[in-house]
Chain length 505, copies 2
């Protein structure tokens, strides 16, 4: 690869105009979905559909080729079949388009013929038009008005997290889900086969991008692993870099080859990568989202000492196990805190040790407030993790009590916000799904509204204690690593999880 | 403990009448919720509230003590404060009540005074009234009309899974969630402090219970570990026995002690337990539900060879990794199957290898059907796991296409049922949540309806590929163990996950 210092990423992320080559009126196809997605998302500049068969696409005048477009074009989006891509890219180059993304598949992931086409694309790109893709879902950049295929409904708010993903499906799913849980993105790049711009180019850009504070990557097979590693070493000194390296099992490695025509690299190489760079090792989609949420919402200086507040002794045990597994501790409270808890809670059916079990199904808001305050006041506690069981607030069987219970719910969530503010100590909320019956969709609605309320108030929310603990742990370990360089994850002690052959054979 | 051969479990699970001691009209208290729960659930026999302060509870005549009840009483449910429990139990004994559950807390989990009360309870129980609890949520037995506190809305259908749980919260949550995913229970027993009947007594009964084919247990600290182990050795020869042993980390062990006054036992002891008994090691609530679903829905003879069908190359890689991690394989298809897939799918943008990536966002039902058929037809495949992304069927942005897309959704799910039937090969469906925005609750509704449709047709459903693979793997490994005795879980190769001290220190 040539050095990418000269790539104009501004043209990619904030184009003034885009041409969509292959734009179509057929909404059952990607290209048809995509042109409408971009318009619905609210891209503010000019949109030029390019399609020689259609005079008009999505109500916009269409042009036979990029060269026929009257104005200048900042960014090219190419969706035509693979065989037609080189010509389309040549046109973009001739037109002076500053960069292009090639969404079309049918390149090196499809054998020899596809590889030849990809080489052709590389040859054209080198003449002066940087290329994202091919075989990708493109770019989501709210500040630039760009969305991933086919995400018309993604948030238009910008935020501190950047995601690069070799898989378009994962890019889209991670973004969609993380947005719902309150994470906002600076840029998401689905980069597919990475024939021209690759993971190292994006990392280099994002490491110095002022809009980006947290970097996440989904990688199948790196194109420039050495440079990526060198860049990661530097980037992790100022920004957390999370890497979900897929295909580290034998079966996964085979699938990687068939997906993006990549060779995934040895497990031992990646183990060394994480050890040497301080990048944060991620193992699946949920974990990526959970860690992103934690990095965005939690302060950098938190330690590993957690107070857990919830209902039910079984929950307490599960919470303690979950914390211990990711290297967090659940220390005993000082006597003064225990005394406050003793005053707040009835003498039986609960536990005033840490984890605190409030015991009853619908705890009075005042009691919940006092318990949270006591936990947050403990000098030996860095983070409070509290669970709320929404389905008990919402039970249709409450009958005449429904109104009173709803007001208790409101007061309880206000208590969380108040305590988080007053004590300046991070409070992490857990809202378990609790109830997935088809007829109890109202409970899920209430749960999502609770989540939205907390997210609006800057409080991170997770669907389970295990996931909350894991998210918190990533933040704790990363900043500990920044201080003492020892390790950036509890996984350093779990070699077996790296075992490529975990089969029972 | 005395031998429990003489316990009349029939009286516990199928009582003709129950007395609820401490029944109250205050629905913000457990006891108040519970009496209504039992009535709403539809207990068919006589219900006698016992409360000296109330002439009537929930519209039923209340009695000052159990001794004042005119008829005979089969089962006693005791919810009064701990100090009043021995007297209530004495009354039950005197009345000839055949067994009792003590829901009240405040016993050995609360220090010396509580321990004395518990000893008092044990003394009375030994005189001839077997006791469940104290500090528990009771019994759910649909065939007997009994429900757990406070589950008025649990399914009234009976099924093959039995669950015993030292935690009431976990018993309730596991039951609620598993029911929603199509699992039905023979019995669920929340047994709390297990002062009289303990985990070994329940296991002994369930091992020979004709209504129970699959046994699950959540255990914090066993009361009779040696007998439990001996019984498990025999039980696993005919029924899968899943054990979620909580508190195996240091932090978890401390929480166990505070919850049910138990000592959890050494990690090495439990490692030996799993190795010697062939019981299935479970690590959290989701896993218990996933495994139960798999044991109920999958045939016993399946092997580890999985075909994965889904949309998106990233999904394929994640699926292959997920399968490999739990000891499943994703073998290449024979040429004839590859050829069928080549005919069914367009030449680019997908993968006809295993995992199959159908490539496009909304695949035509006919194509989906052909792909499933091809995968199911492969002689080297034991199970087909297929994902469906409901949010693409449901996108409100589809506008005029909404109707056509809805009918595609219907045809697609019919295809799944048809293929599963025709090929007699298990098809496991994955329905990812996909979209948790508060405004897109219609998508979640559609997803749950899809789930219910599949469940009705006997097809197991999971919310993620990782969970599907783990569920399938438990069945595969357990029956392999029954054949060759080697190991009952892929976890036998993961000693580190047992590490009680996984902290970063």
């Amino acid at each position: 690869m040539t050095s990418r210092k000269t790539v104009d990423f501004e043209a990619i992320f904030h184009p003034k105009s885009v041409a969509i080559v292959g734009a179509s009126n057929n909404r059952l196809k990607f290209a048809g979905l995509f042109v409408r997605a971009l318009l619905d998302f609210g891209f503010a500049g000019e949109v030029y559909p390019v399609n020689p068969q259609e005079p008009e696409v999505a109500g916009l005048r269409a042009y036979p080729t990029v060269l026929d477009i009257p104005g200048s074009v900042g960014f090219g989006i190419i969706t035509v079949p693979a065989a037609a891509v080189p010509r389309a890219l040549e046109h973009c180059l001739a037109k002076g388009v500053k960069a292009a993304e090639i969404l079309s598949a049918g390149f090196s992931e499809c054998g020899e013929e596809g590889r030849k086409l990809e080489n052709e694309v590389i040859r054209i790109a080198r003449k002066g038009i940087p290329v994202i893709g091919p075989n990708c879902f493109g770019v989501y950049c709210p500040a630039g008005g760009l969305t991933l295929m086919p995400g018309p409904d993604f948030s238009t708010e910008t935020g501190p997290v950047a995601l690069i993903s070799q898989s378009g499906g994962h890019a889209q799913e991670v973004a969609r889900e993380a947005i719902a849980w309150g994470v906002r993105f600076s840029k998401v790049v689905s980069y597919g086969n990475a024939c021209d711009l690759n993971e190292a180019d994006y990392l280099e850009y994002l490491a110095s991008d002022p809009e980006t504070a947290v970097i996440a990557a989904y990688i199948e097979g790196p194109r420039d692993g050495r440079r990526f590693m060198e860049l990661a070493k530097t980037a992790t000194e100022t920004k957390p870099v999370m890497v979900w390296k897929a295909g580290l099992t034998d079966e996964g490695a085979k699938a990687v080859n068939s997906h993006t025509g990549s060779l995934g690299g040895e497990e031992s190489t990646w183990r060394a990568f994480f050890k040497q760079t301080g990048a944060i090792r991620i193992e699946d989609k949920d974990e990526l989202i959970d860690a992103a949420m934690a990095f965005v919402r939690l302060p950098q200086s938190i330690g590993p000492r957690v107070a857990v507040v919830g209902g039910g002794g079984g929950m307490s045990v599960a919470a303690a196990d979950a914390c211990a597994r990711v290297g967090l501790t659940v220390p005993p409270f000082p006597d003064a805190v225990t005394e406050r808890l003793r005053m707040a809670l009835p003498p039986v059916g609960n536990s005033i040790r840490n984890p605190v079990d409030v015991g009853v199904p619908v705890v009075a808001p005042k009691v919940f407030h006092q318990v949270l305050e006591a936990a947050a006041s403990a000098p030996n506690i860095d983070v409070v993790i509290a669970t709320q069981t929404i389905h008990l607030f919402m039970s249709a069987k409450m009958g005449s009590l429904a109104h009173a219970v709803a007001s208790m719910a409101d007061e309880s969530r206000e208590a969380v916000v108040t305590v988080a503010k007053e004590y300046g100590k991070p409070v992490v909320m857990v809202l378990p799904v609790g109830s997935t019956e088809t007829e109890s969709l109202d409970i899920e609605k209430a749960r999502r509204e609770f989540r939205d309320f907390y997210v609006e108030h800057g409080i991170p929310v997770y669907p389970s204690l295990e996931r909350a603990a894991r998210g918190v742990a990533h933040v704790v370990h990363y900043y500990q690593w920044r201080v003492d360089g020892r390790r950036a994850s509890w996984r350093a002690r779990e070699p077996s999880a790296w075992d490529g052959d975990a089969s029972g054979a």
